[in-house]
């Protein structure tokens, strides 16, 4: 695809997109930058604070620094746990889906349903579902004698948030993988059958490489979303018990809106955003390099 003609007039096609995205991205981002380098004594009195907020934030011995460090570690652990379960499960389920027949439509609708529920409703569903007194899940787990209490026990809270995310978002991986699988031409499978390839060989040599692009998208999207998770834990655990499930976004909102500590919150936003960006960029670069090497 390197023979694309060079044409700067193509910019005109991109201008509408830029207009919409810039309006919602650059102006708010500049507001954040503005807050991050100033301090305020209230009453709209701002004065220059340079890199003071950033220095506090990145120094784990300060109070805000320690808090940021913990939240960052928690969020990374959560993203990792969620991805480690969702990606393999999603691929496996996509392989189990029928390729034709009446089952396809119904299965797809049922699978997509959890993704189409507003996030605070997802929280509400699980808040009810995990209660030991009125929820099926909570009652069942307590019934077999396991100590389970979402609002008081850190382990329960953690497991619950991961289970919710797996329930909520594995469908995205399934849909993308399924769409990718359907795009593989039948000729590939016929060739494999002639060669007498085993099911596993077909998966490793045909399906997985063909799925690579969709999977990169799935992993990137899922990483961004898990790293930004906010609504579900707020509704189900409120970030607790203690601060066991206080992820970065939750902490950020607590600092910005709860304590109205704009400088800290703004510097934290920027660092937070930069981390997401870096991780995605590294992943993106590695995957595109791998692909180029295989094509060569």
């Amino acid at each position: 695809m390197t023979d694309k003609p060079f044409n700067n007039r193509a910019w005109f096609f991109v201008v509408p997109v830029l207009a919409f995205v810039l309006f919602s991205s650059i102006i708010p981002m500049m507001t954040v930058v503005n807050y991050s380098i100033q301090d305020t004594m209230g009453a709209n009195n701002f004065f220059w604070n340079g890199d003071g907020w950033f220095r506090d934030l990145l120094n784990p011995s300060t109070e805000i620094g320690a808090r940021f460090n913990d939240a960052l570690f928690r969020t990374l652990a959560f993203s990792f746990a969620a991805l480690a379960i969702e990606v393999p499960l999603g691929i496996a389920m996509a392989l189990c889906l029928p390729r034709r027949g009446w089952g396809v439509g119904i299965s797809l609708v049922v699978i997509a349903l959890p993704m189409l529920i507003p996030w605070n409703v997802v929280g509400t569903i699980w808040q009810i579902f995990t209660r030991a007194d009125i929820g099926l899940f909570g009652a069942a787990i307590t019934g077999i004698g396991i100590h389970y209490n979402v609002t008081q026990d850190a382990v329960s809270a953690w497991v619950t948030i991961v289970v919710i995310d797996v329930w909520h978002w594995t469908p995205l991986v399934i849909l993308l993988s399924y769409a990718g699988l359907r795009a593989i031409p039948d000729a590939y499978y016929q060739a494999a059958r002639i060669d007498g390839a085993s099911r596993w060989a077909v998966f490793v040599n045909i399906e997985l490489p063909k799925l690579q692009k969709v999977l990169v998208i799935a992993v990137l999207l899922r990483f961004m979303q898990t790293f930004m998770i906010y609504t579900e834990p707020v509704v189900v655990t409120g970030g607790g018990p203690g601060s066991a499930t206080t992820f970065l976004s939750i902490d950020l909102v607590k600092i910005a809106l709860g304590q109205v500590d704009l400088g800290s919150a703004a510097s934290m936003s920027l660092v937070y955003n930069l981390i997401t960006l870096t991780v995605c960029w590294i992943f993106y670069t590695i995957m595109t390099q791998l692909e180029r090497r295989r094509d060569a």
């Binding site: 099926l136 329930w167 909102v253 910005a256």
Partner: protein
């Protein structure tokens, strides 16, 4: 290919597990609060629709539902419309800064809503859009427009360039070619893109709540308010929750065939 039984069974088990929390919500919504608190019941023994009737007769809830659907529709239309030419440009041409621009667009997907909540409030307040459906619709463009460009670019790549050239030789002007020939060819992609835009706008709650206060209060926010107002009205919350699933279910029903046709997303 011989279809063995095991995948079918695994799939059915997964689907049942997936449906359990939703079934439980429906179960709750059909029972009264005193019934819920009096003990577990695997199905509603005395089903009642009183909460649903209550919601339909309360203008706040009905208005909220309309508001949510309105901004989602506006956002989906804007996103798909502006993303189409951009996706075409990214796929067909080289231009100064194209690669950087593409990655920069994607970075907007990585901005946590929590970061933007307060600056958005300031911005939309300043331009006088606060508490209108337009504020939410425009705010959701931040992540939906880049997503739409990303998805559509793959579909544009699936159409051979010879078609563009043949149309030009046949004397089609570009706009006419784009609308009459090109759009029908990627109808599948437009469907899939619209689905994803609908989805991410419909489920987003933090920005939608921050940017509205009364006139344009979305359904989800009405729900959040009823949290504290009425103690814990589990039955009402469950009924409202069930109602929020219906538009999504309808939309996925319409696009299921587009997804089933399969798509290999182009550039990552």
């Amino acid at each position: 290919m011989r279809q063995s039984l095991a995948p079918r069974i695994i799939l059915v088990v997964y689907l049942i597990v997936l449906m359990l929390p939703i079934y439980w919500l429906i179960n709750m919504s059909l029972r009264t609060n005193s019934d819920i608190m009096s003990g577990m019941a695997l199905w509603p023994h005395h089903p009642t629709f009183e909460k649903y009737i209550g919601i339909f007769n309360d203008p706040t809830w009905v208005h909220g539902f309309g508001v949510s659907l309105t901004y989602v529709a506006i956002n989906t239309i804007i996103s798909v419309t502006v993303a189409l030419p951009a996706a075409y440009a990214f796929n067909r041409y080289h231009f100064i800064g194209d690669k950087h621009l593409f990655f920069w667009l994607l970075t907007n997907l990585m901005a946590p809503a929590a970061v933007y909540a307060m600056p958005f409030f300031n911005l939309y307040y300043a331009v006088g859009l606060f508490d209108t459906v337009w504020a939410v619709a425009l705010a959701h463009c931040l992540f939906n427009v880049p997503l739409a460009v990303w998805i559509l670019e793959g579909f544009v790549g699936g159409v051979p360039r010879e078609i563009d050239e043949t149309a030009a030789i046949d004397g089609y002007s570009f706009p006419r070619f784009f609308i009459r020939i090109f759009l029908p060819l990627i109808a599948n992609g437009v469907g899939v893109t619209a689905f994803f835009c609908f989805m991410f706008s419909w489920v987003e709650e933090l920005l939608a709540t921050t940017l509205t206060s009364s006139d344009a209060l979305p359904f989800a926010a009405v729900m959040t308010r009823s949290y504290s107002a009425s103690g814990m009205d589990w039955s009402l919350l469950a009924a409202a929750g069930v109602l929020t699933m219906i538009p999504g279910a309808v939309v996925i029903w319409f696009v299921r065939n587009h997804i089933a046709k399969g798509f290999a997303l182009g550039r990552v």
